[in-house]
């Protein structure tokens, strides 16, 4: 109970918000973007934060999920759920085949390889216009139904996205506290040391890469159905960078860090819009200030500070009790 206390509070807030404000623009419209970005950031954090493997191509898997949903439902007339399954299959095969050779690389080389992957997938979306509709994308996806229950309003989508996001967060928290999570941390710390302790590092890395890709893929499918539209731009290299920024901003290696990072990066542009032309400047300045003064990430820094203060207080109490 205590281990997941934060998660319960977080779920409660997420699920109560739309009940209190069902018609609020920031909850049911911006909220959808926030929720999907949280899922993506949390899944990327599994790879980047826990396993220490940088990926600049996460948007590719997100895009593949979205495009499979769009292509298989519209061009080939499959049901949305079959299309999602196909998407998962494609992403599974692609990420599994790629994971071994790609994850042999380290540091900048790994970044380059994943970057290449992201760009190749994006070029495919733009250029293969017979299949993907080219730069204009594909519109008119059918409505997604869950157990015969059509998801057709922003409010219903909020709950679908929220549920998916909460499951992702829960999985991520549980992985971190499991044997697999500790193996990942070991890989993050030192691969050679991890191998010495009998961890099959190649397998561990490849597994988490595939897992994180699959979450992004489902997120993509849901996103496509909610938007009713896909175009290459939503899955460009810049979105991958945005996701990396979310993870780093909140704090690498912490699930809730990714949550906080995604929340801030998705909501800030909406709030800063009132500054019009200065929006981008202020946005950049805020990011800079956070990264300069709290390099370990916003959430992690605050958490550490609180823990430090609590420890000081405890020390004082012990000192008082003994004297």
């Amino acid at each position: 109970m205590k281990r997941l206390l934060g998660f319960y509070i977080f779920s409660f807030i997420t699920l109560v918000l739309p009940i209190l404000f069902p018609d609020n623009y920031y909850v049911t419209v911006v909220g959808l973007t926030v929720l999907i970005n949280i899922s993506l950031a949390v899944s990327l954090n599994l790879l980047m934060g826990y396993a220490g493997q940088i990926s600049l191509g996460h948007a590719a898997f997100f895009g593949l999920g979205a495009y499979s949903s769009a292509i298989f439902t519209i061009k080939y007339g499959f049901s949305p759920w079959t299309a999602i399954t196909f998407g998962l299959l494609i992403v599974f095969l692609l990420s599994y085949i790629l994971s071994r050779p790609i994850l042999k690389l380290k540091g900048h080389y790994l970044a380059m390889a994943t970057l290449g992957l992201g760009i190749i997938v994006h070029i495919f979306f733009v250029q293969a216009d017979e299949i993907t509709g080219g730069p204009d994308g594909i519109s008119g996806l059918p409505t997604l139904s869950i157990f015969g229950f059509p998801i057709d309003t922003d409010l219903k989508w909020y709950f679908v996205f929220a549920l998916f996001m909460l499951i992702t967060v829960l999985l991520s928290l549980n992985i971190a506290d499991s044997r697999a999570g500790r193996a990942l941390s070991a890989v993050h710390g030192s691969e050679i040391a991890a191998q010495m302790m009998g961890i099959d590092t190649a397998k561990v890395k490849s597994r988490i890469f595939v897992f994180s890709a699959l979450i992004a893929c489902i997120a993509g499918s849901l996103f496509a159905h909610q938007q009713n539209f896909v175009s290459p731009e939503s899955f460009s290299f810049f979105f991958s960078i945005e996701l990396v920024t979310m993870v780093v901003l909140g704090g690498l290696g912490s699930t809730f860090g990714a949550v906080v990072g995604a929340f801030i990066l998705s909501i800030l542009p909406e709030l800063l819009i009132v500054f019009e032309d200065f929006e981008v400047l202020i946005f950049g300045a805020i990011l800079m200030v956070i990264m300069i003064f709290l390099p370990e990430g916003l959430f992690v820094a605050i958490k550490n500070k609180i823990a430090y203060l609590a420890f000081k207080r405890y020390q004082k109490e012990v000192a008082n009790a003994t004297s």
Binding site: G134, D136, N228, F229
Partner: protein, 382 residues
């Protein structure tokens, strides 16, 4: 004393009622929302569009609004990104709660938001080119610019007149280019024209000699370059450098002074279909559009500098909405939509608009003029 207090109370209440009633005299504002690519690669389209809207809305409000309804204008810059366009349209509809939307500078931006406006039932006039926007007809979506299909038709008609039957097509990789290419490929057989080469370039390329060398090796009688931005200027320049003497056709996407500036000498002899705005002073006085065009040109140039046809599309959209609101008499999304659809004989900068339930553009092929660039100037052919 007691009576006095009562009197004071009474007068306060009646004064407040007066205030309340007088405020209801001021009519509900007409909220127009817009999302344009004012910055980014399509800024040469979005920037004049925004300036046009702002200039005329200011003027309308200074004259007391549309039938007493002041126009409230909300604008967001999409930077040409479809993702931003979607976010902003959601914001316009769900937060700003606008009555009408004018915008979507590029086809990509417009196509991205069609589902949203259709579901929210908000009248939307797009300022983008693609035929896909209004074909098939969508209940809430209209547009004012000429379509790529019309451009292709106009070009092929001109080729037929000159006896050209074999052409080389060269297009970019943007949405406008791809849609235009598809229209050209589909329409060419109807005009008895054979496409002997179909070359493509990236819009960010700085050299197209490879593609043009390939074209030179074919037996094409003319080159058709469907594109916009700086790439067509490079095509024109490279063709001249390679000594290609074939006539070159461009799309309406290059109908701005910038193109002539960029292409320089190489621009001479190039033909393109475009709205009448750029050759307004060459139109015969009997042309109904002439006075509208000259007045728009004068106003815009007095305030901002050289006009382009793109700002004209915004002018057309704004006044179609204003006229529709006048006819509807109330600010109501559904009624405004119905009246937009009934637009008949509206003389705009793009042509004379006659909309109908099956035609949400309302322009005929005669709205396009065939233009040739001569000595660095636009010359109206017909």
């Amino acid at each position: 004393m007691r009576f006095n207090k009562f009197l004071v109370l009474f007068s306060i209440i009646s004064f407040m009622m007066f205030l309340g009633s007088s405020s209801s005299f001021a009519k509900k504002p007409l909220k127009i929302g817009s999302f344009l690519a004012v910055t980014g690669p399509a800024s040469f389209l979005g920037d004049p569009e925004l300036k046009t809207l702002q200039m005329y809305i200011e003027e309308i409000n200074a004259k007391g609004g549309v039938d007493g309804h002041k126009i409230e204008f909300v604008h967001y810059d999409t930077k040409g990104k479809a993702k931003e366009a979607k976010n902003f349209v959601n914001r316009l509809i769900k937060k700003d709660r606008v009555d009408v939307i004018i915008g979507g500078t590029t086809s990509g931006n417009t196509l991205a938001v069609i589902d949203i406006v259709q579901r929210a039932k908000v009248p939307f006039i797009s300022l983008a080119g693609s035929i896909k926007i209004v074909e098939p007809v969508k209940k809430w979506v209209f547009k004012t610019p000429h379509t790529d299909k019309m451009a292709a038709q106009k070009i092929f008609e001109d080729m037929k007149k000159r006896g050209i039957t074999k052409i080389a097509l060269i297009t970019g990789n943007g949405g406008f280019d791809k849609s235009g290419r598809a229209q050209c490929l589909a329409l060419a057989p109807k005009y008895g024209i054979k496409i002997v080469a179909d070359e493509q370039y990236n819009n960010s390329d700085t050299d197209m000699t490879t593609q043009l060398t390939k074209i030179r090796a074919t037996d094409a009688q003319a080159i058709l370059n469907f594109g916009f931005g700086k790439a067509p200027a490079i095509v024109a320049k490279n063709a001249k450098q390679l000594g290609i003497k074939l006539p070159i056709y461009e799309s309406h996407g290059v109908a701005s002074k910038k193109f002539i500036e960029l292409a320089g000498d190489a621009a001479n002899g190039i033909r393109l279909p475009a709205a009448a705005l750029i050759v307004a002073d060459q139109l015969p006085d009997t042309d109904p559009q002439k006075s509208v065009l000259l007045s728009y040109k004068k106003k815009f140039e007095a305030k901002y500098g050289p006009v382009s046809t793109f700002g004209g599309h915004a002018y057309d959209a704004l006044f179609i909405v204003v006229n529709a609101v006048k006819r509807a008499g109330v600010i109501d999304r559904a009624k405004i939509r119905d009246e937009i659809e009934k637009t008949k004989g509206f003389v705009g900068t793009g042509g004379v608009f006659n909309m109908s339930p099956t035609d949400h553009l309302g322009l005929g092929l005669d709205a396009f003029k065939m233009i040739e660039i001569q000595n660095g100037k636009w010359k109206l052919l017909y």
